[in-house]
């Protein structure tokens, strides 16, 4: 069981959350200009790293807000929790990326 720290509610069990897949996948600037293959790439293709991975989580059974988590897919260690565009806006008390325990 993961213990995730909601930016608004604090640490809660994984069962209170809903997983939202890879974070920071930008919506195409001009969707109509995309080929079918490019559109399929945007819709269906995601990274699958072994190691730190930025992903979306929703505290669906709590405050219902979305936020981002950097999680090591090999160790399940939570490396950062943040609400903005990058881990710079991370939640106090969670590990700092680039420091010991943070993403490599």
């Amino acid at each position: 069981m993961l213990l995730l720290t909601c930016p608004w509610c604090g640490p809660r069990d994984e069962t209170e959350y809903h997983y939202g897949g890879q974070a920071h996948v930008p919506y195409p600037e001009d969707p109509a200009a995309l080929s079918d293959e490019e559109w399929a790439q945007y819709l269906f293709y995601r990274d699958n790293p072994e190691g730190p991975y930025a992903e979306r989580w929703s505290h669906s059974l709590g405050c219902r807000r979305w936020f981002n988590v950097v999680r090591d897919t090999a160790t399940y260690e939570v490396l950062a929790v943040y609400t903005g565009a990058s881990p710079d806006s991370q939640v106090p008390g969670t590990p700092t990326p680039g420091h010991p325990g943070g993403p490599r």
Binding site: C6, W8, C9, G10, E16, L61, G62, C63, R64, R65
Partner: protein, 194 residues
């Protein structure tokens, strides 16, 4: 218009006798607190609209997870950074109208959701032990005290959990989950009322 309050039935009417029979005041007791008014409230915090809303409630809006403000007449429970549930012993239609007027033209929502949930009261020295069988939140008094309320799960279904006294908790499940929650609690209480 006919008085509709004579026709309505609370979600746990059919279990009232079983809850009363399972209740032992020296260990743990269970009962429904039916027909409390509830108003869903959304407004951007720290805005003039939020201040006008607080004037209606008679207390500032809770600012963080777990906080409640106000009194039994108008109690605000924090649900999210811009979302609250106001629980009232008064008329929810009147309260909704007052909150709606306070919002004015500003973005926000005040909606009577009284039928959305019912309230179950679990009280007694073993109440916390019963809840701990199925609630992932740390209920030890170092982190959960009277006046706190959180959205969480009990026995895997969503509930609002609100501690109202040293040994007293209120659970607010959706009406459709109320039967399941009450029966789960009756089962969890068995070791204390046999």
């Amino acid at each position: 218009m006919a008085d509709l309050t004579t026709l309505r039935r609370s979600p746990l009417t059919h279990l009232a006798d079983r809850m009363a029979a399972a209740s032992v005041s020296v260990t743990v007791s269970l009962s429904e607190v039916p027909f409390l008014g509830m108003v869903s409230l959304r407004v951007e915090p720290s805005t003039p609209a939020a201040t006008r809303v607080a004037d209606v409630l008679g207390a500032p809006l809770p600012t963080g997870c777990g906080e409640t403000t106000g009194d039994d007449d108008r109690r605000a429970l924090w649900l999210g950074p811009d979302e609250w549930l106001v629980v009232t012993t008064g008329d929810p239609v009147v309260l909704t109208r007052e909150l709606d007027a306070a919002l004015g033209e500003d973005p926000g929502l005040a909606l009577d959701v009284s039928a959305n949930r019912t309230v179950v009261e679990l009280a007694g020295p073993r109440a916390r032990t019963v809840l701990e069988k199925g609630c992932p939140v740390d209920l030890h008094r170092r982190s959960f005290v009277p006046g706190r309320a959180v959205a969480t799960t009990l026995a895997r279904v969503p509930v609002l959990l609100w501690q109202t006294g040293h040994d007293a908790y209120r659970l607010l499940p959706r009406s459709s989950f109320a039967d399941y929650v009450a029966r789960w609690l009756l089962d969890a209480m068995r070791e204390f009322n046999g």
